[in-house]
Subunit: 294 residues, 2 copies
Amino acid sequence: MSLLLLALAQAAAAKPLTPSDIVAQAPATAWETLSPDDLMVIDYADGQRTVIQLAPAFAPVHVANIRALARADYWKASSVYRVQDNYVAQWGVNEGGPTMPASVVRKPPAEYHRAMAGLAIRPLGFADPYAPRVGHALGWPIAYNPRNGRANLAHCYGMVGVGRDMAPDTGTGGELYAVIGQAPRHLDRNIALVGRVVEGIENLSALPRGTEALGFYKAGTVARAIRTVRLASALPAAGRPSFQVMRTGSASFAAYVRARANRNDAFFQVPAGGVDLCNAPVPVRRTPALPSPR
Amino acid sequence: MSLLLLALAQAAAAKPLTPSDIVAQAPATAWETLSPDDLMVIDYADGQRTVIQLAPAFAPVHVANIRALARADYWKASSVYRVQDNYVAQWGVNEGGPTMPASVVRKPPAEYHRAMAGLAIRPLGFADPYAPRVGHALGWPIAYNPRNGRANLAHCYGMVGVGRDMAPDTGTGGELYAVIGQAPRHLDRNIALVGRVVEGIENLSALPRGTEALGFYKAGTVARAIRTVRLASALPAAGRPSFQVMRTGSASFAAYVRARANRNDAFFQVPAGGVDLCNAPVPVRRTPALPSPR
């Protein structure tokens, strides 16, 4: 048997790790604990909850607005008012509503992209129909263009953006949406993305679809009422939710992406040999409890 | 003003057509009416309905199985038993169930791909992370490889496939799933795709997510009970549902894809210049009523 064949036979004999195996086995150093100021907690009237990680590195003015709105309990007694199948669920204060805090910037800059510089991008290494290059940076899925040095967050499943009217309006942050279908990447560079859902996406994605144009609910229909939206930092320390995101520069993340692109567990006949940016979601987990002292 | 600038000014002055405009304006010749033997109608216990177009040109043995099962009312009193967020909703007879008709092939061939020959493929013209080429044929989204002459249906949102156990099992067709999230294209060439949902996807996508591993419902939970599944050809002619799919070889479809790739209506600041295969869903509509005689 040639050395090459021998190596292949050995590789085949070792049970290949699935993406889930790799996530489960990742060392503590592969995980970054999120700041409680970067976590926004939506508590619904029925006791359910959705938690969103904010992305101040990509949309600082919009994120500052959103933090100010959360601190003012701006969204209390608001609702999810639009759910369009295979597109978005949208919530917040659609029209009227409480006065915004004075610190809220009413006409934020676009923040549709930022400089690649400082991002330490990990290239995905596979083709993309929307951008010259795609990859990950600071734990986020991004598209980027080395020719103009710009990078932008990508509209993957679960990403959260700022509702707006016609351009050049960019929205204040008072209305937000989450992607609940095939990645609408044509919205990239056209809307400010400000974060992603890290827990409780099903409280948005499994809602009844709105029956009016663009999936808006008929007036008077409330499928999910919001009780309050707060930053995790405003919650009592005991019981405050805490999450970790896999470091996209880690060896574990590289192995995870390779495994997503080359599924070779027993179910699969043919590995794809590639993966879409939005089909390799960055692993997120609740921060594990510290081991108890003995 | 230079000729180029003049042309640009004229182009800007003409209100650009949105993808929806193009679909609404497409001539009758751009539409193909589906055979009632290619439409499978799922009627749920609560009166809701999902309609699926079958794809005999891609998975003839599996589709013959599914037609035989529908004609035998095999799925009466079955249910949707798995809903995994951002992945699939799965239904049918999970274990046990009625005896299958004798004509059902118990171990169908894989039917994971077919010959490109005869497909008259329309290339999408944009990069894809999963396949050398992607495009459309016979009204379906496909991936293909000119080097080996093979084409396969693509796992886009709403596509329907055959549940199976570990390879080389291919499934009989007694259990089916629909994609309800980001296109799981890694399943391409690993599972038999047999059709797509043409109406009523929300009766699957908006269901509560299953709480057990892989989104299976806990035993005893029935979020959506199936009353009967029939081919449209088995329904009374009056009231039988009828659908049309845009011909993917038509000029209207080409214009639609161009518009999806270059959104330039007032909402957009920057057209993407590309589109994912699964973000240009083939337009489907109910067959319009004939104009009444005067």
